[in-house]
């Protein structure tokens, strides 16, 4: 399955361009065997640069981290990892917006799903799926669900999340008025450095089609 990652004209992509995600189509057959190394293993991920979430207006998280487990998988798409902890912000470093500080509570597990692998670059394209997070800013509350496209690069261990408008949706907005409604198309952009838990080892994902 090839997924063209077109740039949306929407708001958030101004930020996305900085992340340098290029959508070069792969010529290889879709991968059906996903080899994760080490496997199975736990991983941890910490943001590199700020994370930008949008729900009409942008929000900035200077601290974000994730943890979970990863394992080799088969099929396409292939579920190569489960994110069991996903934090946006930390004590002393809340996520901020011009509405005020934003608190995001993730409902996990989220999945890391591989769709397309380019052997020449060692880059897996895919998405973070099963996303669900409850967001509050003062009395304004809403839930975000869906998926967020991204890539994983073996040479750097960077999981670059760069969702496109429409992948994530808003449900149950309360007291947010015109700023966040069910028509709002949230986005999630940012880079995470992934390591094998408790180490500085960068895990790798290799897709193949035997």
């Amino acid at each position: 399955m090839k997924k063209s990652m077109r740039r949306s004209a929407l708001v958030v992509c101004a930020a996305a361009s900085a992340l340098g995600l290029a959508a070069a189509p792969s010529m290889a057959a879709p991968s059906t065997v996903w080899t994760v190394n080490p496997s199975p293993a736990n991983f941890q991920a910490t943001n590199v640069g700020n994370i930008v979430l949008t729900a009409t207006i942008p929000m900035t998280c200077t601290v974000s981290n994730a943890a979970g487990s990863m394992a080799s998988a088969t099929g396409n798409p292939g579920d190569v990892a489960d994110i069991t902890t996903m934090n946006f912000g930390a004590s002393g470093s809340p996520c901020t917006s011009v509405l005020g500080n934003v608190t995001t509570t993730s409902v996990t597990p989220w999945d890391v799903v591989g769709v397309d692998y380019t052997a020449s670059t060692g880059v897996t394209k895919g998405y973070v799926g099963n996303v669900k997070a409850n967001v509050t800013a003062g009395a304004c509350k809403f839930t975000v669900t869906g998926k967020a496209s991204g890539t994983y690069t073996n040479s750097t261990g960077i999981l670059a999340i760069n969702s496109t408008a429409g992948e994530l949706v808003v449900t149950n907005p309360v007291n947010c008025g015109a700023i966040v409604t069910t028509a709002t198309k949230p986005t999630f952009k940012g880079n995470y450095a992934v390591k094998v838990a408790g180490s500085s080892v960068i895990p790798t994902i290799v897709g193949s089609n035997p």
């Binding site: 943001n47 207006i57 809340p94 901020t96 011009v98 500080n101 800013a137 003062g138 304004c140 008025g177």
Partner: protein, 544 residues
């Protein structure tokens, strides 16, 4: 309230009044909070305490050594504030702690400490937080890791005679970890993150953490450093010593403190937040039930009195807020605009006012003038926020105007220790006023405070935002006073001449709000917004 004869001998009533008037006109200079805090005794005691602690690190509880050094006065007078000085906290964490931090890819660390210090006098107790910060240090290859923090600490005043003891309690160490390339893990950089290490005093700590003993008053002569843990069955003669002669205080103040006779921790060191037991409660109750858009917050700051060339300190005051629902603003080709109208009320003992606050003014003929005042609302405060997002660079701003109809009510006036009876109705004729940027839509007398928050894409928000707080500023005109004085003594002109007028700058700092229906409690993942009983978690610090 009737005029009170002065307790001290004086030449004649006429002369005393004349002096008082001169004094009052002279200068509102310094706040009580800013009066230099010095001990009466010239001698000081240098304290060096080494205490065993148990610190909880990621790998589990580890023993640690904490050394606290500080200088205390050898003794002090009752009611007289003093400030421990030269406070240095040295934490020595063992080898394993270094390994724990190294496992997080930390190459360096910047530490800040928060030491809970129990202050006790007879059976009364209070708690102060001694904060310290350190320069960044490189992580050694092996332990121990020694962190040295320094900082200013709150002043303390004993309310009566008796030994005042200071004991170290819980210690929290906030560690900002730095990666090998030397970048801190703040704002735009990534790295090993931050960590708060909680430490408890070891059970076998000598003297249960006693740091120092300061005899207060003339009747005590306890040796320095003697453990005198507070006991309910302490010396009956001194327990609950009367406080500083405020028994004739107006009803407003009588119930102000839950433990009036506790040693008073004067959390007024600039840059230091007040302890929670030193601020009035801020919670919704049966008379003020919360809605699903209810918020609460503390606000504190300074108001300059231009004629007096001085500033009055408004202590942390509770505000109850009903957060508005954003609606689309006027169409604009370049911006997406949302407008929100929120409403707010001060909340102090079921009244829409600030707590009473004192200002001490020093006159050229040495007589201090002390005024006790409150700001009273005459109507609900309105908060207008306009959020604008640029359609070209997606930068966002929120401009907030707080419109507050507030009269200044003078409760007490004292000149050189002699009360001047202002009566019970001594107020400004109208609300403090400001020039309103939109007078057509907002007529009437009110104070206007303004704050702006902004966020450039990818960067954290800065400035004032209603939900997360920040600095609000404005400029007030203080109207003439009315109703001041009794027994034919008209103090209106005196106060008006000495205080009223334009150009008084106001700077208030609002803390993070607590959203009652969506409370955020402190956790490693979240900056706390609410206490467990739904009061504002943050107590803001006034800024000049």
């Amino acid at each position: 309230m009737k005029a009170k004869p002065a307790a001290a001998p004086r030449p004649s009533r006429t002369r005393a009044r004349a002096r008082a008037r001169t004094t009052s006109i002279a200068a509102f200079v310094v706040l009580a909070a800013l009066v230099p805090t010095t001990a009466s005794a010239s001698g000081t005691q240098q304290v060096e305490a080494e205490l065993p602690y148990v610190c909880t690190l990621p790998s589990g509880p580890l023993p640690a050594t904490v050394r606290v050094s500080a200088e205390f006065p050898e003794r002090a007078s009752a009611g007289e504030p003093f400030t421990p000085s030269g406070v240095t906290t040295t934490v020595e964490l063992p080898d394993q702690a270094v390994a724990d931090l190294a496992a997080r890819d930390a190459a360096g660390v910047r530490a800040a400490t928060r030491l809970g210090v129990g202050v006790a006098q007879n059976a009364a107790t209070a708690t102060a937080t001694w904060r310290g910060s350190a320069e960044p240090v490189a992580l050694p290859e092996s332990g121990p890791l020694t962190l040295v923090t320094k900082g200013d600490v709150p002043s303390v005043a004993g309310r009566g005679d008796g030994d005042l003891t200071f004991s170290a309690g819980a210690l929290a160490i906030d560690l900002a970890l730095e990666s090998a390339d030397g970048t801190a893990t703040d704002a735009a950089t990534a790295g090993p993150g931050s960590l708060t290490v909680d430490c408890a005093l070891a059970e076998d700590a000598p003297g249960q953490g006693l740091l120092a003993t300061v005899p207060v008053g003339t009747g005590t002569a306890a040796p320095s450093g003697s453990p005198s843990s507070p006991s309910p069955s302490g010396p009956a003669g001194t327990s609950g010593a009367p406080d500083d002669g405020q028994s004739d205080a107006p009803g407003d103040r009588e119930a102000e403190r839950q433990s009036e006779r506790s040693p008073k921790v004067l959390e007024n060191t600039p840059g230091t937040a007040a302890d929670r037991d030193e601020v009035p409660p801020c919670r919704y109750d049966e008379q003020h039930p919360p809605t699903d858009v209810s918020l609460n917050a503390y606000v504190t700051g300074y108001a300059n009195v231009k004629k007096m060339k001085g500033a009055a300190y408004l202590p942390p005051s509770c505000v109850l807020i009903e957060q508005g629902i954003p609606v689309p603003g006027p169409p604009d080709p370049d911006y997406l605009i949302f407008d929100t109208v929120s409403y707010a009320n001060f909340h102090y003992q079921e009244r829409r006012q600030t707590p009473p606050f004192e200002a001490t003014f020093l006159s050229f003929d040495f007589a201090p003038v002390k005024a006790t005042m409150v700001l009273e609302q005459t109507d609900t405060m309105r908060i207008d926020s306009r959020m604008k997002m640029s359609m070209t660079d997606f930068s966002t701003t929120t401009d907030t105007y707080v419109r507050a109809p507030l009269v200044l009510h003078v409760l007490d006036l004292e000149v050189n220790g002699t009360p001047l009876d202002v009566g019970s109705e001594c107020r400004t004729e109208t609300s403090l006023t400001s020039e309103d940027p939109d007078p057509a839509n907002f007529p009437g007398d009110h104070l206007v405070l303004y704050g702006r928050g902004e966020l450039l894409i990818g960067q954290p928000a800065t400035g004032y935002l209603l939900l997360s707080g920040g600095v609000l500023s404005g400029e007030a005109t203080i109207p003439a006073f009315t109703g001041c004085g009794t027994d034919g003594e008209d103090l209106d002109r005196l106060l008006t001449a000495s205080v009223s007028g334009p150009g008084n700058l106001i700077k208030q700092v609002q803390g993070q709000t607590c959203a009652i229906a969506a409370p955020v409690f402190p956790s490693p993942a979240n900056e706390g917004q609410c206490t467990e009983d739904l009061q504002p978690y943050e107590i803001p610090v006034a800024e000049h």
